[in-house]
């Protein structure tokens, strides 16, 4: 699996070689910072609830933007042919791209630790466990969205199309919870289980349940497998 690390390194370099990654990061941090800071003194609570509430929404735009080019650009510029004829497995290509996206999200989250320091300095009685769980949850959420984004990127050679597709898939998982009122009673359980927000809100409460982890991991595996199948289909039909 160390070949996927080579791909990851290449993608991270290419992120930071272009202004796009900086722009996306700066916007992400500005928005999350503003949403965190403005109600901080009104709420007068030393926790990161507002941050954990807003970041999933920001992800909706942020993650498709960083995953859209990962495979579609390779297809568009023809470098996919180069990559596919090198002795590397499709699964390693996909995993490499996945870790690159997760790493960039990790960098974004790392910067939000500024807010954590703020509340440590200002507040008392801080629930470190809940904050730790919150970050784990955000990382998992970012990973799920990355997997979706990579799948979207694998099915088209057009970055904009890839962006739109991943946005809508993520949006679907994001808004399922609002449909709960409209679905028949016997389906509520299933819809609730599908809702990303249901699992995420469990985690930020400070409870890391295996059910939630299984949900996240299975979504990641599902979309990465789909992406791999889509690559194989194009190369090897």
């Amino acid at each position: 699996m160390n070949l996927s690390i080579t791909i990851t390194k290449k993608e991270i370099k290419s992120y930071f070689n272009s202004p796009a990654a900086y722009i996306v990061l700066v916007i992400f941090l500005l928005l999350s910072g503003w949403f965190f800071a403005s109600p901080l003194f009104i709420n007068n609570q030393a926790n990161l609830r507002t941050l954990f509430g807003i970041i999933p929404l920001l992800y909706l735009f942020f993650v498709p933007a960083i995953t859209m080019s990962l495979l579609s650009r390779e297809k568009n510029t023809g470098t996919m042919e180069l990559l596919a004829t090198l002795p590397i497995k499709d699964s390693e290509i996909i995993m490499g791209k996945f870790w690159a996206s997760v790493s960039l999200i990790g960098v974004g989250l790392l910067f939000t630790l500024v807010h954590f320091i703020t509340i440590v300095l200002l507040g008392t009685n801080i629930d470190f466990g809940a904050i730790f769980c919150g970050y784990i949850g955000l990382l998992f959420l970012g990973a799920v969205y990355s997997a979706i984004g990579i799948f979207a990127s694998s099915i088209t050679s057009n970055q904009i199309v890839s962006l739109i597709i991943s946005f809508f898939i993520i949006f679907f998982f994001f808004i399922i919870k609002f449909f709960l009122f409209f679905v028949p009673d016997f389906l509520v359980g299933i819809f609730q289980y599908l809702s990303i927000d249901y699992h995420f809100s469990n985690i930020i409460r400070g409870v890391i349940d295996t059910r939630n982890i299984i949900y996240f991991v299975s979504l990641i595996v599902l979309f990465l497998k789909l992406a791999q199948t889509s690559l194989e289909n194009r190369n090897w039909k």
Binding site: T77, L82, T85, P87
Partner: protein, 311 residues
């Protein structure tokens, strides 16, 4: 050795490559020739495991493309058509990336050899998108030969280059061909003629000719065309064909008032050049020039790929 057996590739109802069979032996330099859209790139993509055949089989060094793709990919160096590169990387980063994936351990010393061989001096730390097309092509070559592959596959390696760059690239190809099995696809004949020992011509997905350069030429050269430049009285020139049997004058065209350009044709098996010369001498005409026009591969190619492909 590469063996293609009954190789077929369909894109929907379009048959890009149909029932192609051939073998390439170790050390051969094969020119893979055909007009645009003949199926050259598709065939090469199947050998490099980028596309899979609809049916048929390819074996590389007795390994099968269905089961041992990774091993085959390790043996092959491939320069795809249009030479795709990661243009935002520097040349060094790009080659380092390829080397990492290929698992090349002695990268530093190998890099030195490659810089020397491909003439990359002075551009190693430049971003690829700032390079000229010729240099980009060299980077593509460097990528293909970085792991010192046994088999090198070049898809239209000189397309889009200027004549000087073409000569440079050809020199590079010749150099590489000394020790490797080489497949070069092209639609340009001189290129293939210049470097290849064997030529396969493909048209509409089917092989229409296979042989050495000389074989292909001689197969089509049953008539010899002779071109004369002659100072002679115009009305007497046609006497040549009256006095010598089995030749035909194809055309007589005046170059100026006294000089004429004459084209004569006869069977290659029956050389008439001496007789023609003797006749001209007996008439006291002045022969300025006489040369045979050999049928070029160009003509062979046109015959095979335009006029129905009959052989």
């Amino acid at each position: 050795m590469i063996r293609l057996q009954n190789l077929t590739k369909d894109y929907g109802s379009l048959c890009a490559v149909g029932h192609v069979n051939f073998e390439i032996n170790e050390g051969e330099i094969l020119g893979f020739l055909g007009p645009n859209g003949a199926g050259k790139t598709t065939t090469l993509r199947m050998i490099t495991c980028f596309l899979s055949p609809t049916s048929g089989n390819i074996e590389v060094e007795n390994m099968n493309i269905y089961n041992e793709q990774l091993e085959i990919k390790k043996l092959i160096g491939y320069l795809p058509e249009h030479n795709p590169l990661y243009i935002d990387m520097t040349v060094y980063d790009y080659l380092k990336f390829i080397a990492d994936i290929r698992g090349i351990s002695n990268f530093k010393s190998r890099m030195k050899e490659i810089i020397e061989q491909c003439g990359l001096n002075g551009i190693v730390h430049k971003p690829i998108n700032t390079l000229s097309k010729g240099y980009k092509q060299r980077v593509g070559f460097a990528q293909a030969i970085l792991h010192d592959p046994k088999i090198l596959i070049l898809d239209e390696p000189t397309s889009g280059l200027d004549p000087n760059q073409i000569v440079e690239i050809r020199e590079l190809i010749k150099e590489l061909g000394k020790e490797k099995t080489l497949i070069i696809s092209s639609h340009i004949l001189q290129e293939v003629q210049a470097v290849c020992s064997r030529i396969i011509i493909i048209n509409e997905g089917k092989i229409v000719a296979d042989g050495s350069t000389e074989e292909l030429q001689s197969a089509f050269q049953n008539k010899t065309k002779l071109i004369l430049e002659l100072i002679a009285p115009e009305n007497e020139i046609s006497e040549i064909s009256n006095n010598i049997k089995e030749i035909t004058i194809l055309s007589i065209s005046p170059l100026n008032e006294i000089t004429f350009n004459i084209e004569i044709e006869f069977d290659s098996a029956n050389d008439k050049r001496a007789e023609i010369y003797n006749f001209i001498r007996s008439k006291d005409w002045i022969l300025l020039e006489m040369h045979r026009e050999s049928i070029s591969l160009e003509a062979v190619f046109r015959n095979l790929t335009i006029e129905g492909g009959e052989r």
